[in-house]
């Protein structure tokens, strides 16, 4: 199974205090500075929608957002453009992009130290139902890929995987490590 359109969500702490309005000028400054290799286009503001996509930095190859889907605040990377390479390459690319954006947010002075990655959780989705329908066969076909990827990411820690059970939702897995990691550690584990 060729995993494309990998989405990664890094859970953030202190969601109750989160003031997503602060993200709008930050995302604008990322566009101004052409902060990533990807083409960044515009901001979509959905703060008014409960448990919604929050504030989205729309890009050509990928979107970045701080979303509150399922009432879980997190930084999400949504890979839209197709990528060559192996499944491990694509999982790593998406995780690395999300972690780098997270690193920027954590270090962002305008957030005054209020943004913290929770250090031990990551959600992964495949945003294409034909590529990866949410059913048992997909879980079986991808089990090894996810196992290899999370062993590398959470190096030295045990972890558990939980799958999304509603077949209508995107195929996805939530990984929880026994140990907590910094963003830099996770990037280092991925070889960045």
């Amino acid at each position: 199974m060729d995993l494309q359109h990998v989405n990664v969500k890094l859970l953030l702490d202190h969601s109750a205090d989160a003031d997503l309005e602060l993200l709008i000028p930050i995302f604008h400054s990322w566009i101004q500075a052409e902060a990533f290799d990807e083409l960044l286009l515009d901001i979509a503001d959905y703060r008014h929608v409960p448990a919604g996509p929050g504030v989205v930095l729309i890009g050509h190859e990928a979107d970045y957002s701080v979303d509150n889907a399922n009432d879980r605040l997190g930084l999400r990377y949504n890979r839209k453009a197709v990528l060559d390479g192996s499944n491990q390459d694509r999982l790593t690319q998406a995780a690395r992009a999300a972690l780098r954006a997270c690193q920027r947010l954590v270090a962002e002075p305008r957030l005054q130290g209020k943004c913290h990655f929770n250090g031990h959780e990551m959600e992964l989705f495949i945003n294409d139902r034909l590529v990866a329908p949410n059913r048992a066969e997909t879980r079986d076909a991808t089990k090894q890929d996810f196992q290899i990827f999370f062993e590398k990411l959470f190096r030295g820690s045990e972890f558990t995987l939980a799958y999304e059970s509603d077949p209508r939702r995107l195929f996805g897995v939530s990984a929880k490590a026994a140990k907590s990691f910094s963003v830099s550690d996770l990037l280092a584990n991925l070889g960045s």
Partner: protein, 751 residues
């Protein structure tokens, strides 16, 4: 582009109606031809529009990032999907939902598409459609196939075609309706979709149905074709029919639809619509799209002549069995409930009771209620759509509709189920109270995604929603019942003309800088199917609009007489006094260091209309042009006051002169010695601004200048109440355009 695009056609083979499948295959082929340069960009643009694939802001490859204009380097380079519209630029996909009716499977399909092709948000429009934003054109055939497999089409959702046929979402359950218009709306929609007689319009054509004359839900007065259900007794039997209206529309200058016929029987509904379409296609304007809506044709011909032509056309139509095939079924049509009705429940929690008060209405069928799911700014997430599908299945026979107030209705809910349904909605984040009250604000996309947006309608709506919601249950009842509607520009997609408090985006210059403003529109009427239109009172900086709302509503509460509506209050108090109440809010900030006014709601970038010159005069100097334009604006307001006091001729003349004076203000920039002679002003305005395209809207072209030329040509003719009203709207738009023109010229022109 999605990895799965190549596979959906095969995956859905046999699951899509053959005709629809073929059409989408052809569209996909046209995409391929355009990419190979074998299809002209203009032709492709109209092709994709007719499939509902619309452009979006910044699709010309430029975006002001707050510091400079950035060129957006898309991978496909110069390849376009229409004039000045780059291939890779994300676009908007509009999805037609006839009469707003949806089942659970369709809700789930929309959820999947919002997630996979857009940003997980589906947006309900003011015409019961859906829109998905940030969609790649290469993904649209897959998206359309998946919709088609759920019996939804995007065909003719945009372009010069018959748009979504809307209908009162309470049809069939409203105690005040004559009969359920749903099957007739669906029959008309099906009949006109792709009809050969509807393929050669100069502009779009929007039909709407209402079950009654008194409520707002159908908004038939502001539609190209409006149909209101009526009955009459013939030979002792009640017979169904429709009051037929034609030639209404909002747009830049709103027109009330004219009564075409007091009663047409169902068997004449489709053929008459066909005859109207033929007359519109044959005689409607084609070259000047700014006068191409049917409202101009009806106005120019007069309703009597138009009626005569349609009746003649009707006689020539070859018989079509589809005209009547549906009628027997339509008369029997009746939605049914999933469970028996109930007597209701005892008083619940405070939150439940608040919600029940504003979001629940009794149906005409005893024991059942209609529940409104209020969506903030018309937005719903993919997960919420799935939750709504579950709720629709659990409590009803999937009887869900979208509304023109950008909400959902769940119909046929047993009154006994209301607490459980409320809990389910609340769990999904869909249990907000305040439906159809002042917090339920309607807004078009505005500068968020629309190419034509001038001010941030959604940003303002979100801010007002937040402020109002915080105190909504402390607000007096008369305030709670007001409607706020916001458009990002003069094009009225937010339906600002028919709100109690309407706003549309304009720009003005303060201290040498462009500042986002909204025109405050008062006097509109939402009920009686949008029975009358408001007029602009004053342009106020965007950041001061919440204070405008606060002042006007406080004044209303303090000064209203018993039972007085806001519209009647505005009329009684008078716009002169209300305008005076707002005057200080139009002024620049007292502290020159206060920059808050120079950006829009939800967008911290310094506001710009494009690549503007930077102001040099930093504050104090107000140019003579600005004084002259302000004087012209005062004049158009005087014209409005004259119209309201019945001085029709005076109103028309003053409106015309206000345009002339605004034109003179601009001419004076280049010829300080310009005289007061109208001919000279017109001549020089034409040479210096129109012919050079300096007075040129990027999307409307020379439309606003033509308002002046037309007004001048007709200035010796007597004005009617209608013509002077239209002229006042045109004069305000001309002056708004003069401000924009002056802004675009920059401040380097010294006078």
């Amino acid at each position: 582009m999605k990895a799965s695009n190549a596979s959906w056609a095969k995956e859905l083979a046999g699951k899509i109606p053959e005709q629809l499948a073929r059409e989408i295959d052809i569209f996909e082929m046209e995409i391929g031809l355009r990419k190979q340069g074998k299809l002209d960009e203009r032709l492709f643009a109209e092709t994709r529009l007719r499939r509902g694939a619309y452009g979006q802001r910044y699709d010309n490859g430029q975006r002001h990032d707050g510091k400079k204009v950035q060129e957006i380097a898309y991978p496909s380079g110069d390849l376009t999907k229409g004039p000045h519209t780059l291939w890779d630029a994300p676009g908007m996909q509009r999805i037609k939902i006839p009469a707003g009716g949806l089942n659970a499977k369709q809700l789930e399909t929309l959820a999947d598409l919002a997630e996979e092709y857009s940003d997980s948000i589906a947006h309900v429009t003011t015409r019961q459609d859906f829109q998905l934003h940030y969609v790649q054109i290469d993904d649209t055939p897959s998206l359309m196939r998946r919709l088609a497999a759920a019996s939804i089409t995007t065909r003719e959702a945009c372009g010069n075609s018959v748009r979504n046929v809307t209908a009162c979402p309470y049809s069939g359950v409203c105690p005040d309706e004559a009969f359920d218009v749903t099957p007739y709306a669906k029959a008309l929609s099906k009949f006109l979709l792709g009809h050969p007689d509807c393929q050669n319009f100069g502009r779009k054509f929007k039909p709407a149905f209402s079950g009654c004359a008194q409520h707002a839900c159908g908004l038939t007065s502001m539609h190209d074709l409006g149909l209101i259900a009526v009955t009459r007794v013939e030979n002792g039997q009640e017979k169904r029919g429709f009051e037929l209206y034609v030639g209404g529309g909002l747009g830049t200058v709103p027109y009330q639809a004219k009564l075409f016929a007091e009663f047409i029987p169902p068997e004449e509904l489709l053929p008459l619509a066909q005859a109207i379409a033929r007359v519109f296609a044959r005689l409607g304007e084609k070259k000047n799209r700014n006068r191409a809506r049917i409202k101009f044709l009806v106005h120019d011909l007069g309703i009597e002549k138009f009626r005569e032509l349609v009746i003649e056309e009707r006689k020539t139509l070859p018989h079509d069995p589809r005209w009547t095939d549906y009628i027997a079924e339509a008369e029997k049509f009746q939605e049914t409930p999933l469970v028996p009705g109930g007597d209701g429940v005892a008083i619940g929690s405070v939150a439940f009771e608040r919600w029940r008060k504003t979001n629940v209405r009794p149906q005409k069928q005893p024991g059942y209620a209609v529940v409104t799911v209020a969506l903030p700014l018309g937005d719903i997430t993919a997960n919420q759509l799935r939750a709504l599908a579950d709720i629709a299945r659990r409590y009803t026979k999937e009887t869900v509709r979208t509304t023109v107030e950008q909400n959902f209705l769940i119909r046929w809910v047993s009154r006994n189920d209301l607490p459980r349904l409320y809990d389910a909605l609340r769990t999904a984040g869909l249990g907000a109270a305040g439906a159809e009250t002042i917090v339920d604000i309607v807004a078009c996309p505005g500068t968020d995604t629309c190419k034509l947006g001038i001010s941030s309608s959604r940003g303002l709506a979100a801010e007002l929603h937040k402020r109002m919601t915080e105190k909504s249950f402390e607000l007096d009842e008369p305030i709670q019942n007001l409607h706020i509607k916001i458009s990002g520009c003069f094009n009225s997609c937010g339906q600002h003309h028919v709100a109690d408090l309407g706003f549309y985006g304009v720009s003005r210059k303060i201290a040498g800088y462009a500042v986002p403003h909204f025109q405050v529109v008062l006097g509109g009427e939402w009920t009686r199917n949008a029975g009358s239109y408001g007029l602009p009172v004053a342009a106020i900086p965007s950041k001061n609009i919440p204070e405008v709302v606060a002042r006007l509503t406080e004044k209303f509460v303090a000064g209203r007489t018993k039972g007085e509506t806001f519209k009647d209050f505005v009329k009684r108090v008078g716009k002169v006094q209300l305008k005076a109440e707002l005057e200080d809010l139009a002024r620049p900030p007292a502290d020159p260091a206060d920059r808050s006014m120079f950006s829009d709601w939800g967008d911290p970038r310094e506001y710009t209309l494009g690549d503007l010159g930077v102001g040099e005069c930093a504050g104090e100097v107000v140019s003579a042009v600005e004084f002259d334009l302000a004087a012209a604006e005062r004049e158009v307001f005087e014209a409005q006051v004259a119209l309201e006091t019945g001085e029709t001729q005076q109103a028309g003349t003053t409106a015309y002169l206000s345009m002339l004076h605004a034109a003179k203000a601009l001419v004076k920039l280049m010829n300080p010695n310009i005289s007061n002679d109208a001919e000279q002003i017109l001549r020089e305005f034409r040479e210096r601004y129109y012919d050079t395209q300096k007075f040129w809207d990027p999307f409307a072209g020379g439309k606003f200048a033509n308002y002046l030329f037309d007004a001048h040509r007709k200035s010796a003719e007597p004005y009617t109440p209608d013509s002077s009203r239209y002229l006042i709207d045109e004069a305000q738009l001309f002056i708004d355009a003069a401000h924009s023109c002056y802004n675009q010229l920059g401040t380097s022109v010294k006078i």
